[in-house]
Amino acid sequence: MAETATAQPATAHDAHGAHVTSTGLSNVKLGMWLFLGSDCLLFGGLISTYMLYRGRVANGPTPEQVYDIPFTSVSSFVLLMSSLTMVLAVSAAHKRDDRGTNLWLTITALLGTTFVGGQVYEFTAFYNEGLGFTTSLFGSSFYTLTGFHGAHVTVGIIMLLALVAINKRSRVPGSKSETVEMIGLYWHFVDIVWIIIFTLVYLIPV
């Protein structure tokens, strides 16, 4: 008994530095998937609110008058490609390639920043065209939905850059590849939410 307790203490770690759990699955990963599943409910509420109110324009501009589809298509493409660079960062982390991991994480952060920059430009252009946050129900629901998504992307960029800074000092706690993978899951989630927003909000006319 004493030998068993010594061999597998409560805070045992596997060869990769991750905690050994009773399920055999990483608790961190389990928690992240649970969070992402619950985040579907948040964005579901915001998207359905937009769908309900997109035709309620009052005296303000309509979606067709303000949307710039070519511009948003490029933004969507940038965010989609950031998912590729993120998965390459995860792949490099699994190969214990620190240089490659940092490079791909930085590129992902840059692509994310480009997307957020595009969103700021888009918001400014819409505002100049007369669509304020309180102009109409369409404006309120549009800015709330895309603003929440933009906030998620911004949090992702901060996490990516913080991870690069910590990784350069070799101070990533626990399993490094798992940490990169968790931030990757979050990043891909903001991408799949945008896949839905791009189609339902921008491409389907009122």
């Binding site: 998937w33 409910l41 579901g44 589809i69 993120m86 998965v87 792949s91 989630f189 839905i196």
Partner: protein, 88 residues
């Protein structure tokens, strides 16, 4: 998955995005909405399955995520139905 595999998935995603954008300029008639929603779903599943590795990971993770997703779809579809959204 290899790097080449990830790039292939990204190329397919980019191609589908191009097709999606083309629906804005080309008249697809009655196929417009079903085609657009199908392409959206295919992109969604591809990112979740290959980039988020859900296809190769433990099934419990899939259950956790898809439960949240389908719960959201069900709850909000019901909410929209109460506002006669689908009859417009």
């Amino acid at each position: 998955m290899s790097t080449r595999g990830y790039v292939n998935v990204a190329v397919i995603l980019a191609a589908i995005t191009s097709l999606e954008v083309s629906t804005y300029y080309v008249d697809f008639g009655p196929l417009f909405l079903p085609a657009l929603l199908t392409m959206m779903a295919v992109k969604f599943v591809m990112v979740v399955s290959y980039f988020m590795h859900l296809k190769f990971d433990n099934k419990l993770f899939s259950w956790l995520f898809y439960t949240g997703l389908f719960l959201a779809v069900g709850v909000y579809a019901a909410a929209l139905a109460t506002f006669h959204f689908f009859l417009r």
